[in-house]
Amino acid sequence: MTAVDTGTAGDRVRAPRVVIVTGISRFLGATIAARLAATPGVVRVIGVDRADPPGELRPLLRGVRVHRIDLAEGADELVELGAEALVHLAVVSSPDGRGGRAAMKDQNVIGTMQLLAACQQMPSLRRLVLRSSTAAYGASFRDPAVFTEETEPRATPRGGYARDILDIEGYVRGFRRRNPRVTTTVLRFTPFVGPQPDTGLLQLLAQPVVPTVLGRDPRLQFIHVDDALELLYRSVVEDHQGVFNVAGPGTITLSQAIRRLGRIALPVPEGILQAAAVYGRGVNGLRSLDQVDLFVHGRVVDTARLTERYGFTPRATAEAFDDFVRAQRGDAVLTPGRLAETERRMLEMIRTVRAGRVS
């Protein structure tokens, strides 16, 4: 986890002519690929995924050449494409149904190894951008409240995703040592937030009743998906060597998030959540140990380095989350409007009763 940071700020700005984007069958990959394809100076964008992009993303991918490759089985056919930049987004945070956790690990860890092996054989490659996660910090009650990029995890995390992230970052560090001419950017994202509930965490929060850990109120951080895209884009067209925490400054607690959404919290003892995640199908959508750990310990990161080197401050966590809240308001039980109305009525009632008594 040691982050060596000798890189200069993004001053050498020249868009790469050929870019490979992995993970384009998902929103983030498709959107960044489309934006790169529209960038002057970028001649070709090659999208890679093991699955076909779903229908709604296809319009985005018109200017993108799509290769259907399972990275875990080798990425040799990417070598001869003359890529100058590679954006690796094919890292998944939860099993997607096909093959479960084993397939997820194959895709994350083996896929990254194969991809990096291919990268070593690309003499034209100048930039490598990795989508990582703040799950890299693990989760322990001995953790400092705020993680900087230098913080080491206290112990090997028990969550599969967190372990994958540690492995992937390890391989990328090794790649970087062997290939100093390639600018390597590792972006440790906090969970994404936007109007759509399209991540596991947001789907969990969008339910009417949200499972929480009894006696814990974790601090959460989010990055607005638009800001995440902007930072990914800048990482491809500018030079930003090093590891960066990517998060909206500040924090909201889980209870605050649930209240803002007008949902209802269902506190469950940690042991039950844990057992249900390991041996069963989870509790009401809370399925993985990664999620249990997040709901016990919370996670807040320091973003000073990102702000300084990119000259860009993402919108604050609370503000980014409110974008999601506004889009989900239809299903809320307790809305600020209803609460304010109740408050007004109660005050009026008290005044009427008191006025009656005084006169």
Binding site: F141, A145, G215, D217, R260
Partner: protein, 286 residues
């Protein structure tokens, strides 16, 4: 004529109470990156603690002027009392007696953050884990940070050892103050030793429940939950003169300098304790 005024006051209270509930229920409040919830602390925790602070322990505070009105400072105190009520009373002293109504950010042992409920309350009331990255971050953000370097050795000591400062550990708190160039304010707390006089410690039971000690006091466990009521001792808290760390700022990694300064702080607090005890001849006096 006084009736409408009284009514106004009552109405205002009800209105502000309802507004508070609405803000809480809709999540419209701020929490800092350590999890500190100032509104909850001021509106809910402090009114409860104030009953203990003012009415039960009759706390008197001396030389609160030694606490800086702004900027970061490390407040270092003696620890005692079986349950760390002295830390909570010190936060009340900083908030209620100081004109700037400052919040003291406490540092807690790791087991505080291991326990459900306790960890949640600790973070919401502004505490964080006693580790150098957190201390330095808080000091650099110009917060007042409260630390009890004796740790469990202080809280869990026998009644016969009362007001004898225990060892100060590795002095990590000193290096944090040096590195951030913030002053150290020594503070002596008298009164906490008598709230749960610790007569014995049942080690096997402690190990069984994973606690650092299992206390036997004159009332606990004999009286059951009633034994948890602290004895109403008289409390005095004195803030000592701030110790400027600027002259040693570049020696944060020098163990000799750190130990020396930690020793100096310890002796200052011990001296203040003796003075305070003379001011309080009767532990349960008025």
């Amino acid at each position: 004529m006084t009736v409408p005024e009284l009514a106004d006051e009552f109405d205002n209270k009800v209105a502000s109470g309802l507004a508070f509930l609405r803000r809480r229920l809709s999540g419209q409040y701020r929490v800092d990156e350590f999890g500190f919830d100032p509104e909850l602390t001021e509106q809910v925790f402090q009114p409860v603690l104030r009953l203990l602070y003012r009415d039960w322990f009759r706390t008197e505070v001396l030389d609160v002027k030694n606490l800086p009105a702004q900027g970061g400072a490390l407040v270092v105190g003696n620890h005692s009392g079986t349950i760390a009520l002295d830390a909570l009373m010190l936060t009340m002293a900083c908030h209620d007696e100081h004109p700037a109504r400052r919040h003291l950010r406490l540092l807690g042992a790791d087991f505080v953050f291991k326990l459900p409920f306790v960890s949640e309350l600790a973070r919401k009331s502004g505490a964080t884990l006693a580790c150098n990255p957190d201390v330095e971050r808080l000091l650099e953000a110009d917060e007042l940070v409260g630390v009890f370097p004796e740790g469990f050795k202080g809280v869990g000591k026998k009644f016969t050892d009362r007001y004898k400062l225990q060892r100060f550990g590795r002095g990590g708190f000193v290096s944090a103050a040096l590195r951030t160039r913030r002053p150290i304010v020594p503070v002596a707390i008298v009164g906490a030793e008598e709230i749960y006089p610790l007569l014995g410690d049942v080690k096997p039971l402690a190990r069984l429940i994973g606690a650092p000690y299992f206390p036997i006091t004159p009332t606990f466990p004999w009286l059951g939950p009633l034994g948890l009521v602290p004895l109403p001792s008289k409390w005095l808290i004195r803030f000592g003169e701030p110790i400027d760390t600027e002259p040693y700022a570049d020696r944060a990694d020098d163990p000799a300098a750190v130990f020396n300064l930690a020793d100096h702080v310890r002796e200052t607090i011990q001296g203040m304790l003796h003075e305070l005890l003379e001011l309080r001849p009767d532990a349960f006096g008025p």
